[in-house]
């Protein structure tokens, strides 16, 4: 080894060819470039705002809003502040997105499974539903539902009455509702106890299943325990916790019950139907991704059809389903902003009004974008956490 001639003493690499130095210089140059662009835009913006005579500040949030919002989950009046208006909008967004996600998931699973049915006609119907909705813009669907369906229902006087009674008119859909009685608070306590019991039952059964090597349907038993407590509590209390409040037509308006406005119904139905087509495709792909051998192996171990679905196919399909399902949920939440075209007061619609009232374009837009961004990031963080839990550990 020592016969080799000694290497010449290594020369220092000149700075302009040293990759480490070049990398730092390159990044600095890039940051300076980005900074310059932002600075240029910001300077123009400030100059423009100056010309219009408005500066940048968030003080306006505490001033009186001075406009009404048709639907609000928290108390709100025109003398409330802009901040409260934003909050009303945000809650409406969350309400419609939450219900929309629930409905879209149910419909999506239904059509996704129907798409794989061995019955040709059912398969055809599901395919037509999916292919139609996937290739139509959501905004067109919403405007069609609103101008073509929900406000075309008969006037209140001739409202369509479905059993329940559910009254459908051009003012919205009125359903029976419950009014809390004095016993309601104690009933809430009982429900809380039921929830605790359900969690205990679920955890206990899971623990027992692990120990005994069996697979009891923990979720189902937990729900049954909760329902049992709820029913027993309802009967046991001296007075029912809710008194029924039925909608009735009174002259030109509907009194009693709970009325969902046409705007709300349009947005909810539009979002749910549209997203369900995409979820159906996700579900179908997930089920198809489980190889046939898995089903055959499970059958030959003696599991019945339901067990095969619950214990073998479903857990493996979830692995494939969860990531695209997350992005569909996020899409639905973001798409709820299209309510601006039909006038349901969710976050984006309210902020448009706030902008017009306060004239604070830049601040309002940044607030709205920050809120949507937080919703998106929180949802994807939660779904990523869930995804990590259901993911099978690969070999």
């Amino acid at each position: 080894m020592d016969q080799y001639p000694a290497l010449p003493a290594q020369k220092r690499i000149p700075l302009w060819r040293d990759e480490r130095v070049l990398r730092i210089i390159g990044q600095l140059a890039f940051l300076v470039l980005v900074g310059l662009i932002i600075a240029y835009l910001a300077r123009n913006m400030l100059a423009n705002l100056d010309q219009l005579g408005i500066g940048l500040s968030l003080d306006f949030l505490d001033t009186t809003a001075g406009f009404d919002i048709g639907e609000h989950l928290i108390t709100y009046s025109r003398s409330a502040t802009f901040l409260q208006a934003f909050l009303v909008g945000l809650l409406n967004t969350l309400l419609v997105s939450g219900l929309g996600i629930l409905l879209a998931t149910i419909l999506g699973i239904f059509f996704g499974v129907a798409r794989l049915s061995s019955n040709y006609l059912i398969q055809l119907l599901a395919r037509a539903y999916i292919e139609f909705l996937r290739n139509v813009p959501l905004l067109v669907l919403l405007i069609f539902l609103y101008t073509g369906v929900f406000i075309q229902f008969p006037r209140v006087r001739e409202a369509i009455t479905l059993p329940g009674p559910v009254l459908i008119s051009n003012r919205g859909v009125a359903v029976p509702w419950g009014l809390p009685t004095p016993a309601f608070d104690s009933y809430l306590l009982i429900l809380g106890f039921g929830l605790l019991l359900a969690v205990a039952v679920g955890a206990g059964l899971t623990w027992y299943g692990r120990r005994a090597g069996r697979a009891p349907i923990a979720g189902l038993w937990a729900v049954l325990a909760f329902l049992l407590v709820a029913v027993v509590g309802w009967v046991a209390l001296p007075q029912p916790p809710l008194s029924p409040d039925l909608p009735v037509v009174q002259g030109l308006r509907i009194s009693g019950g709970k009325t969902f406005s046409p705007e709300f119904m349009t947005l909810l139905m539009g979002l749910a139907i549209y997203t369900s087509a995409f979820i159906a495709d996700v579900v179908r792909a997930g089920i198809q991704s489980v190889s046939k051998g898995q089903v055959e192996a499970a059958r030959s171990l003696g599991l019945n059809g339901f067990q095969v679905m619950r214990l073998v196919v479903f857990p493996q399909a979830m692995r494939v389903i969860i990531p695209p399902l997350t992005s569909q949920y996020l899409n639905l939440t973001k798409n709820s902003s299209l309510a601006v075209a039909i006038g349901y007061p969710e976050l984006f619609h309210v902020s448009g009004t706030v902008l017009n009232q306060s004239g604070r374009a830049v601040e309002v837009i940044f607030i709205v974008m920050a809120i949507y961004l937080s919703i998106s990031l929180l949802t994807s963080a939660f779904m990523n956490w869930y995804n990590r839990r259901v993911r099978l550990v690969e070999r």
Partner: protein
């Protein structure tokens, strides 16, 4: 022929044969509940189809669509300049025909269907005789292109690709006009663009500008330089996390503020900026997926051959990565085409916007079913056609088999 002789000894698997009754039994009436489902489904299909057809034939009044057809197609684009839009269509048909002649073998049925489409439209009631001749011109241009493509064969491949790349800027130029050629190509300002024309222009601009931007962002996200990576990540996550309407809204109210005082970019340009910014973020994520699918060996081999980073990307990695994501990108472009309808919320008169403004006129109130159904069908046909192409591409590129 060699491989067929080698396989002569092996018999093909027996093909399953059903009679009509056999098919019905297997697919519709295999068990009692399947039979019940089939009958329910038949009843449902019958009642839906009956209701829809009754409305379509006896109740719907298509007069509103016929009267406003021009508005729906091109908005208020001046009549004297409509020939430019036909020219764009002829060019499109010609280039499509040329590419078909160069690349596609067989598929006569699909080709015939495509050629039949303009013929069928020209037979529709309410089409004027000049429009009919112009529609026939589309077929003529397509056939001409096809003949040239067939005659030229493989030599024309490069030319066809160059024509496609040049086509989109050319369309913008033809539609907008040229200040230098005031006499024969006068400028048509963008407030006159509308209808389906504007929908297409927004889509085309969105695709062409978000493509390079998205690729740069995808490369930036995978860069080893932290500064570049973090700027790209924040851009992508921010614009993917907010709805497109807020970006369009931002573009329409804030972009004017970003320009030097005194200049006012026109609304169509603002919408184009918003759409491009938004689409680029999604495109970057799709391209990143393709980049991640390229095995590390490709990078190492390229380095071993002495290529530098830039050469590795342009000649080795990107061509493979982009090929992988073509079907996904098609899906993105379908979504973009549908999303252009959102510019109606900032007051532009694209297909949906102009429909709403037509429906707001007193004489057309109450025709929302007809007009909205008409534009829904337009959106549906284009989206379905694009997704069909993307499925075929996926098969012919063999993306799924890797």
């Amino acid at each position: 022929m060699a491989h067929t002789t080698a396989r002569q000894g092996i018999l093909p698997p027996p093909t399953e044969r059903y009679s009509v009754l056999g098919w019905l039994h297997k697919n519709l009436f295999s068990t009692w509940y399947n039979s019940l489902l089939s009958i329910l489904a038949l009843l449902l299909i019958y009642s839906l189809a009956r209701g829809f057809l009754t409305w379509l034939i006896s109740e719907a009044e298509w007069e509103v669509v016929r009267v406003n057809l021009r508005l729906l197609m091109v908005g208020q684009y001046p009549s004297a300049e409509t020939w430019r839009i036909w020219l764009c269509l002829y060019l499109l048909a010609g280039i499509t025909g040329l590419s078909w002649g160069v690349w596609v073998r067989g598929r006569w049925l699909l080709g015939a269907a495509l050629l039949a489409a303009p013929l069928l439209i020209s037979l529709a009631p309410g089409v004027t005789s000049t429009a009919r001749n112009q529609l026939l011109g589309i077929d003529l241009a397509a056939l001409l292109g096809f003949a040239i493509g067939r005659a030229g064969g493989k030599r024309l491949r490069r030319i066809a690709i160059i024509l496609w790349v040049l086509y989109f800027p050319l369309v913008l130029l033809i539609v907008r006009g040229l200040a230098l050629a005031e006499s024969w190509l006068p400028i048509v300002t963008s407030n006159l663009w509308g209808g389906l024309l504007l929908t297409f222009l927004l889509t085309i601009v969105g695709i062409s500008f978000s493509f390079p931007l998205g690729i740069l962002l995808a490369l930036g996200r995978r860069s080893s330089l932290p500064a570049v990576r973090w700027v790209s990540v924040s851009y992508i996550e921010v614009f993917r996390g907010v709805p497109l309407v807020t970006i369009l809204f931002m573009a329409s109210t804030m972009v004017p503020l970003f320009f030097p005082p005194g200049t006012r970019p026109d609304p169509v340009l603002r919408a184009m900026v918003g759409i491009t910014i938004f689409t680029a973020a999604y495109l970057a994520e799709n391209v990143r997926g393709g980049l991640q699918a390229i095995p590390a060996g490709q990078f190492e081999a390229a380095h071993a051959l002495g290529l530098n980073g830039f050469q590795t990307m342009t000649f080795i990695i990107l061509p493979q990565a982009l090929r992988l994501v073509i079907p996904v990108l098609m899906g993105l472009f379908i979504a973009l085409f549908k999303d252009t309808s959102l510019v109606a919320t900032i007051g532009l008169l694209e297909l949906l916007g102009i429909s709403r403004s037509i429906l707001a006129q007193p004489q057309f109130v109450g025709y929302q079913h007809e007009v909205l159904l008409f534009i829904t069908m337009i959106y549906w046909i284009f989206c379905y056609f694009l997704s069909y192409i993307s499925q075929r591409l996926e098969k012919s590129l063999g993306v799924g088999e890797r």
